[in-house]
Amino acid sequence: MAQAINGKPISDAEFNSLAMQVFTHQYRQNKPYQHFCNSIGTSPEQVTHWHNIPALPTDAFKAEAFPLSTFPIADARKTFLTSGTTTETKGIHYFASTDLYDQSIINAWHELKLPEPTHALFLIPHPDQSPHSSLSHMMGVIAQHIAQRSSWATDESGSLEPKKIIDATNDHQPVTLFGTALSFLHLFDSIESPLQLAPGSWAMETGGYKGTRHQLTKGELYQLFKTKLGLPSDCIVNEYSMTELSSQFYSSGLNQPHKGPSWTRIRVIDPVTNTDAKPGELGHLVLYDLANLHSVMAIRTQDLATQDQTNLEVSAPCFNLIGRDPTALPRGCSRSSDETLSR
């Protein structure tokens, strides 16, 4: 599978063939998933197209008694936990190795032609401080493999240290700020006068506000980027992913679709009919990620989206993310980070 996650285009036929192999592997090795497939009368012998691979809801990762893993969880070298309150059940994603996960981050970055940060400045906890955060891990991979230079704008407890960002901007060198939407709001609240970022600077934000007091539209958030950091919207990238996945999706600026790497596919499902939503119509996002080799490749989210109509001929996924469904329970890495920053 590592050969498929190399940043080169994968045709639909190739993707389908690989997806069938992954589904067969997961059906055989991941018993809780196999039981689910059996309960709905589906097995690899009956599936010929990736569309029909049974998708599990993200809540299934919360069933601790039935770990979604193709290997014994005692052999897990890494576990990522979903965020949530102390009373909320957390989802667990087990990894025997993060090699494929890391490869997915790096190769997607290159395939989707994201700019290489000259100085990456992270507004979220370091992976050592947050070892079960998939977002912190991703930042660690960016620091190690993608950015030319990196530093962390958080203290030992993981709380934001705005002074480190202010100091970094005084170098008059381009910086790339990485953080959750909430961590950026903390930054904006804590700086008295707007920062002047050097030309070539840009930012990557992720996560929403569900379960917090903040309710900003993306447009309002990006306006704050403009007024507080001088960054226009086309210098801001949104990253969309989740603990239950191993790949990421990115959009640049406002009103632009999210795009994923070639080893992913998406469907937008109309929950009323439980079939594909018509192009342009709202539905829930179902994600297919070949890099999720050791758990479940088909994940049903509670995120609302529309299929992007301008890119229907493109094999790689493209969707317009509306956001987290308001009826879903509070969750999301942005919120976890907010709790840390509020300490």
């Binding site: 809780p32 039981h35 689910f36 059996n38 309960s39 709905i40 998708a55 599990l56 809801p57 809540d59 299934a60 069933a63 008694a65 039935f66 009373t87 007091r213 109309d270 929950p271 009323v272 439980n274 709202l282 539905g283 829930h284 049903r300 509670q302 609302l304 469904d325 308001p326 009826t327 879903a328």
Partner: protein, 358 residues
């Protein structure tokens, strides 16, 4: 300025109209007299000074009540407004920005003398906050907290935050299933008095089967409202998550209305109270030998009503230790008496202040 007697007649007249009665229930003038007498000691308490121990006392209604209502159902909004009207206050009603057509449409049938006491706003100005003597807030915990920040020390604040109700079935499953289906289905489960879970003594799996049959019957005779994408997605997510659990845990049972999303019944062994995703999705659980907040879990702090079958005084009193403010017969959870203490508040007495002589 109207008298209590006049307002009673006007409210009774309004509540006799079908479009109003569907939200308020049948309310007669005699009911209103009895209600005021029960809460304030006399139906003349707002009109004149009456003996109160060694004193003479008169109830004083707030000049202005600000009602901030949610969009879940119109019931709570009507209850709140009727209380304000009955004591003769001016009522400023903040409705959700998306509107609350059930309320505004039905208010058209109120007599003019009552309409004059009601203002409907979709946004609030500073003067709306400052002129209120009482602020009644109905909504999520987050909304209530935000509204509370606007209140001044001299203002009475009455919060009606997130609540959840449950059923308890001890016996007589066939009748209980009919009542439970009604309590879990009415108003698409969107109110505080809607049942999210039913705890069953004895063969709870059999009860789940019976409940599913009655949910289907109720759905046939009372089709659910059409669902938004979000609501439908929440039901699909609940069903698929449950399907995953049941495929690995034979004690979990999922009963559902086929491909449609009309109703969902989930049987599971855990006694922990979980919130339903609403829209006629209900949990059935075995009744543990002891029912307390530790067993029910954190959601028990939000208990509003416990609906019991068969209902008797002893059964109800045995649940007194739980945080719920109301124990009632199963099948009546969604029809509280005019006299009920809404979330523990005396609905009229908590609005008034008193003047004493002597």
């Amino acid at each position: 300025m109207t008298t209590t007697q006049e307002r009673i007649q006007l409210i009774a007249e309004a509540c006799s109209h079908d479009q109003v009665q569907q939200w308020t229930g049948a309310i007669t003038a005699d009911d209103l007299h009895a209600w005021i007498s029960s809460e304030l000691g006399s139906d003349m308490a707002l009109e004149t000074f009456l003996a109160h121990g060694p004193l003479q006392s008169k109830a004083i209604a707030p000049a202005c009540i600000l009602h901030i209502v949610s969009g879940n159902t119109a019931h709570a909004a009507f209850q709140s407004i009727i209380r304000g009207l009955l004591i003769g206050s001016h009522n400023v009603v903040k409705i959700p920005s998306a509107g609350l057509a059930e309320l505004t449409d039905a208010l058209k049938h109120f007599p003019d003398a009552l309409k004059e006491l009601i203002e409907i706003h979709s946004t609030l100005e500073q003067q709306d906050w400052s002129r209120a003597d009482v602020i009644i807030a109905i909504g999520s915990d987050e909304s209530i907290a935000a509204i509370h920040q606007h209140t001044k020390p001299h203002q009475i604040f009455i919060p009606h935050s997130h609540k959840v109700s449950i059923g308890l079935v001890y016996d007589d499953f066939e009748a209980a299933a009919i009542h439970a289906a009604s309590d879990a289905s009415l108003y698409n489960q969107r109110g505080c008095l809607s049942l999210h879970a039913i705890y069953v003594a004895g063969d709870s799996e059999r009860f789940a089967d019976l409940l599913a049959i009655e949910m289907e019957k109720f759905s046939q005779s009372n089709p659910a409202d059409s669902l938004t994408v979000s609501e439908a997605g929440a039901i699909r997510n609940l069903r698929e998550s449950t399907r995953f659990r049941l495929s690995n845990d034979p004690k979990v049972i999922l009963l559902e209305s086929g491909d449609s999303l009309d109703w969902t019944v989930i049987h599971e062994a855990s006694a922990t109270l979980q919130l339903s995703c609403l829209n006629r999705c209900v949990y059935v659980k075995p009744l543990p030998s002891e029912l307390n907040t530790a067993i029910l879990g954190p959601e028990s702090e939000h208990l509003s009503t416990i609906a019991i079958h068969p209902f008797n005084q002893a059964n109800a009193v045995s649940l007194e230790h739980l945080p719920a403010h109301r124990m009632c017969p199963l099948g009546q959870s969604q029809q509280p008496s005019l006299f009920w203490h809404h979330d523990g508040f005396a609905p009229l007495a908590s609005l008034v202040k008193w003047k004493d002589i002597g």
